[in-house]
């Protein structure tokens, strides 16, 4: 018979064998690159050669108004689009859960459908739909909603609206699923008790549904915000490389262009990406607080 100590060692060794492949891949393709970025941020590239620059990249970053403008675009998109989308997701979830019984499954399926499309595919579809001489304008002109076509993609203001509309189309159904799961977890007896007490539906929503869904809402809020912080595909494809005239340039797109399109200054690009890491870290702390509070 094996001794207790030998068996423990056997279990410990087995554990390491199971996690080894993943840990090895992690070390090579995640840990090493992240650590090596500490070296990259101290280098300046000129063509293919690089030299030590110390904190020079960060000094340059603070003076780079286009970078801060780009980050500003992220925030504007975030502040306007995320609340609208979450309100819509919540509305659809409440309607599907409380309002309708017939065809509920079909409605849920159709509303979720946009969430399966690739960001590239839907960005392309919206870019074609929203051309100035395109279908969206034509429909609204024919219906008398517009007297002249809107330059969705060529006007700085409308280009931002375009991105928000597209994002809302893509993600509302996705967030709705979270809210539907949350609604299913609310005990129906609470509503029955409120009914008996004669509480109107609107009051039930604000007094019961909203507070009980708050953790899920906060979760959606944080994940959406974090997604907005990293927005890349839409401004690159839908509004054609952050156009018009950088009006929809986002931080991730600007960093990508510094590293791979305009120049190949990896040091500078990596330094700017640290700002996004920092902001993502702040969001994560909020997220842990929120979800941590939920589990108590």
């Amino acid at each position: 018979m094996r001794s207790r100590g030998a068996f423990e060692r056997y279990l410990n060794r087995s554990g390491w064998i199971f996690v080894a492949p993943a840990v090895a891949l992690f070390a090579v393709f995640m840990a090493y690159p992240i650590l090596s970025s500490l070296y990259l941020v101290t280098r300046k590239w000129k063509g293919l050669t690089d030299s030590f620059i110390g904190l020079g990249n960060f000094v340059r970053m603070f003076k780079d108004s286009l970078f801060w403008d780009s980050l500003g675009h992220n925030f504007i998109l975030m502040v306007v689009q995320v609340p609208v989308m979450i309100a819509l997701s919540l509305l659809f979830a409440v309607i599907l859960h409380h309002g309708v019984r017939k065809f509920r499954g079909a409605f849920r399926l159709i509303l979720f459908l946009p969430a399966i499309t690739s960001l590239v595919a839907y960005s392309i579809l919206f870019r074609i739909l929203l051309q100035t001489n395109g279908l969206a304008n034509n429909i609204m002109l024919d219906a008398g909603l517009l007297t002249q076509p809107i330059a969705w993609l060529n006007d700085p203001f409308w280009a931002n609206v375009t991105i928000m509309v597209a994002l809302t189309w893509r993600w509302t159904g996705y967030n709705m699923i979270f809210f539907l799961v949350g609604l299913q977890n609310i005990d129906p007896e609470i509503y029955e008790a409120a009914e008996v007490d004669g509480a109107p539906k609107v009051m039930q929503f604000f007094r019961i549904t909203l507070p009980l869904l708050l953790p899920v809402i906060l979760f959606s809020l944080v994940t959406s915000t974090s997604g907005m912080l990293q927005l890349f595909d839409e401004p690159n494809i839908l509004t054609n490389q952050g156009g018009p005239a950088n009006a929809t340039m986002t931080a991730a797109l600007y960093i990508y262009r510094q590293a791979f399109v305009l120049s190949s200054d990896f040091g500078y690009a990596t330094s700017m990406s640290y700002v996004i890491v920092l902001l993502a870290g702040v969001l994560a702390i909020i997220q842990i607080r929120v979800l941590g509070g939920r589990n108590k």
Partner: protein
């Protein structure tokens, strides 16, 4: 007589009308995309609701001028290999972390989870330099290898493995079974739903992946569908009909997986939220 609720009250009808309108917006781009496959470029942009007769020409352009079969094959090979390698590696790790708990491994698990918050753009810059130094640019390996290990999938599967009773493992050990035999023969078969969700999640994220292939793929021979669509879209004269064919074809595998396995699909996408 018991009271029967009126089946067609006015608010209820308005609710259905509202939902139908929202569903119409939700589904319209798909409908218009499918229609676009039958139209000439001009009609795609201006829009018409009547199917045209250009489908064969567009199909032909997508296949011959734009090499749809090659790009489809590239996307499929990359996604399938990522799923097979990724699910194996991540399921093993999830099982190792959950069923052989130790302080050191919990610490490693914590470090893995920490990387979940790393924005993609920050990892990709140094990763690109690594892949270039390894001389892997423009290969399948460059697109597959860095995205096989997924902290999220490990986390997701670990939660699933909690259901697998330790007593079964102990009984199997007494019968002389090796740890790999227990894992592959008993643990994995009991976790089909979780594995399916993980596989779907990994398939979709790799199938739709854009930023990383955009910087590591340099030639047509490894090009994936999202990149093919993007380069068609940025051409001087856009071949809209052929583009619609490629966009539609690129959505079909995801749509099929979604419709066939809705439950696992949503579980995978939404993750472990309860």
């Amino acid at each position: 007589m018991s009271q029967v609720r009126a089946p067609f009250s006015l608010p209820r009808i308005l609710l259905y009308v509202f939902l139908l309108a929202v569903c119409l917006i939700s589904i319209f781009p798909f409908f218009w995309m499918a229609l676009g496959m039958t139209l000439n470029p001009n009609e795609v942009v201006k829009g018409t609701l009547i199917p045209g007769d250009q489908f064969l020409q567009n199909w032909d352009k997508a296949n011959n001028n734009y090499n749809l079969p090659l790009f489809f094959a590239n996307s499929l090979i990359i996604a399938v290999v990522t799923v097979v390698v990724g699910v194996t590696v991540n399921a093993m790790a999830a099982y190792g972390f959950e069923k052989f708990q130790s302080r050191a491994r919990e610490w490693v698990f914590g470090v893995l989870l920490l990387t979940l918050i790393m924005p993609q753009i920050a990892v990709i810059l140094p990763l690109f330099r690594l892949i270039a130094a390894m001389q892997l640019l423009d290969t399948y390996a460059a697109i597959i290898l860095p995205f096989t290990m997924s902290a999220f999938v490990i986390f997701f599967l670990r939660q699933n493995f909690q259901m697998f009773p330790k007593e079964i493992m102990e009984a199997a050990r007494v019968d002389g079974a090796g740890e790999m035999q227990i894992f592959w023969g008993m643990a994995i078969p009991s976790m089909k739903a979780g594995i399916a969700s993980a596989a779907i999640l990994m398939f979709i994220s790799q199938w739709n992946s854009y930023l990383w292939p955009l910087i590591t793929i340099l030639s047509d021979k490894t090009k994936t569908l999202p990149l093919a669509m993007q380069s068609m879209m940025s051409a001087y004269t856009v071949e809209y009909g052929g583009l619609m064919v490629i966009v539609t074809v690129s959505l079909i595998p995801v749509l099929v997986v979604f419709l066939a396995m809705q439950k696992q699909f949503v579980a995978g996408l939404v993750g472990s939220i309860k």
